[in-house]
């Protein structure tokens, strides 16, 4: 009948609204459900997963040695032209000429963190660092040289 349908409508509507209200009231009163992370304040406790792709770095050991042979595989693998390998020729103690890197230039502003260079590197010389706060005031600071000054290639890396 019309009237009963009408009343049923009204009560059904009220019930559905009440269910929603109950749910939001639950969250209003249960503050332990809050999931906000207070980002700049929690820097100390912030853990990024070890695979997080933040920026490409070249690890050096305590003797200031890296593993890069200057093979340019990373440069070729990079889709964006982010890496430029500048090579030079070292003179080995035996007096032979040997190719080595002079500079490995890395343009952070071009990098899309696609991980392809890391995969391509045959000697595991570069890896992804777990950093993410990359903003700087001057664009030129985004162009980085990955090998430290005065560093040389590790013994036994070919």
């Amino acid at each position: 009948m019309f009237i009963t349908d009408y009343i049923k409508d009204v009560f059904g509507a009220m019930k559905s609204l009440g269910t929603g209200l109950k749910r939001t009231l639950y969250y209003f009163t249960h503050h332990k459900e809050i999931i906000t992370q207070q980002y700049p304040d929690n820097r100390a406790t912030l853990v990024l997963p070890d695979r997080f792709k933040g920026e490409v770095v070249m690890p050096h050991d305590e003797k200031n040695e890296h593993r890069c042979t200057g093979c340019t595989a990373c440069e070729l693998a990079c889709p964006n032209g982010t890496i430029k390998v500048v090579t030079k020729f070292d003179i080995t103690p035996e007096g032979k000429k040997k190719k080595a890197i002079d500079k490995l230039v890395y343009h952070l502003e071009l990098c899309t963190m696609c991980n392809l260079c890391i995969v391509a590197c045959p000697s595991d010389a570069i890896k992804m660092a777990q950093t993410f706060e990359h903003s700087v005031f001057d664009r030129s600071q985004l162009t980085k040289v990955l090998n430290k000054p005065g560093s040389k290639i590790m013994e036994g890396v070919e």
């Binding site: 009204v10 609204l17 929603g20 209200l21 749910r23 939001t24 009231l25 969250y27 209003f28 503050h31 459900e33 809050i34 999931i35 906000t36 207070q38």
Partner: protein, 380 residues
């Protein structure tokens, strides 16, 4: 009626019981000030001074309400949305809205090209003035009322319908299609919902037999109408809450500013302080309709009493009347905020359907019931 326009004056004869309670109250303060001024400068100047004081108080209350309600809304929203909400400025973020106000004050108030300059700049002030006018007959505490008008309810429903003019004006003058659409929507909406708001208010008027807010509060001395009036008053209360939510353009009835459809509706083009005035007027309107709701249905500043529990009633009487009033009002405000952060928005035709097919018939039948109840004396 004219001689009654005396500000901050305890006008009503104190005729009820329990005069022995001596809790600090607004009424005493206003009485003291009144006496002191009368002694000092004479009756005429005292009235002038009192008017100035009342004006300053209203503006102060406005600013305060804006700050409190904005931070309240943001906190309610945040907790419902499992967030923390503002927590940077001041202790626990409580000064956030103050910082926002300062920001809005120093922002440029632009008038768009092609806008009707006069109307565009006038609209936010009309919104404010309406909100301020509505403050007059509200009883904030026992014997503390700016203007004890004998047709208070009528005054409120008359003045509150002016607010639609400011919205239409803003929408028309902005020279923006979104604004115009928003304004047209809100015009249709406010005009329709006024009906059921008025009818649900009438239910209480019928029960009380008076249009004066003071009389209505006095009639609830032995129990609030929502408890005394059985189911019809509860229905009237629900219709009232729905209708005023729509009248103040709050979600789920915020079609006038539906931001997923109209970006910001009628105030799309407003910036800086002019925007802030609209914003403030919205919140003050919410406060006012909730205050009216509290006055009509929840007994205004009347404390909560349970039948013959003398001890309990006594304890309740010790809570100052202003706290009762603001407590009830803020409860209703919370209710409206709770709606806003739970429900999706209606569509314009559904909005009008709800009013004309559901709320209006229901409240009309309800009014009939209430009238029968009042005639037969079936309420407590």
């Amino acid at each position: 009626m004219y001689e009654r326009i005396i500000t901050v004056l305890p006008v009503k004869k104190i005729k009820e019981k329990k005069q022995n309670i001596t809790v600090w109250s607004f009424a005493d303060i206003s009485k003291t000030i009144d006496q002191w001024l009368n002694d000092w400068v004479g009756a005429t100047w005292a009235t002038v001074f009192e008017m100035v004081i009342a004006g300053v108080c209203v503006i102060g209350l406005f600013a305060l309400l804006g700050l409190v309600l904005v931070i309240m809304e943001r906190k309610v929203a945040a907790w419902i949305q499992i967030r923390l909400g503002p927590n940077r400025v001041g202790p626990k973020g409580m000064l956030q809205s103050l910082a926002d106000t300062v920001k809005l004050l120093v922002k440029e108030g632009m008038t768009p090209d092609g806008a009707d300059k006069f109307l565009f700049n006038l609209a936010p002030f009309i919104a404010m003035i309406v909100a301020m006018l509505l403050m007059a007959p509200i009883a904030f505490a026992k014997d503390f009322q700016m203007w004890d008008l004998n047709v208070g309810v009528l005054y409120i429903s008359a003045v509150s319908s002016i607010s639609v003019i400011s919205i239409l004006m803003a929408g028309w003058a902005s020279n923006n299609k979104y604004s115009l659409l928003g304004a047209m929507r809100s015009g249709a909406q406010i005009v329709s919902y006024e009906l059921s708001a008025g009818l649900s208010v009438l239910a209480i008027v019928v029960l009380t037999g008076s249009l004066s807010l003071t009389d209505i509060i006095q009639s609830q001395q032995n129990g609030w109408w929502i408890f005394k009036g059985h189911i019809p008053v509860i229905i009237a209360f629900i219709t009232f809450i729905i209708a005023v939510t729509a009248e103040t353009n709050r979600a789920p009835f915020d079609l006038a500013e539906a931001e997923s459809e109209l970006t910001a509706g009628f105030h799309t083009e407003y910036s800086g302080m002019k925007f802030a005035l609209f914003f403030l007027a919205e919140y003050v309107n919410v406060f006012i309709v909730c205050a009216i709701g509290a006055t009509l249905f929840l007994g205004g500043w009347m404390p909560f009493h349970i039948g013959s529990w003398e001890g309990f009633n006594h304890v309740m009487d010790y809570i100052p009347s202003s706290i009762w009033f603001f407590g009830k009002t803020f409860f209703l405000i919370f209710l409206i905020m709770w709606f806003r952060w739970t429900f999706p928005r209606l569509r314009i035709d559904q909005l009008l359907n709800l009013e004309w097919k559901y709320l209006l018939p229901i409240s009309m039948i309800n009014l009939l019931l209430v009238t029968v109840m009042a005639i037969m004396g079936w309420h407590f």
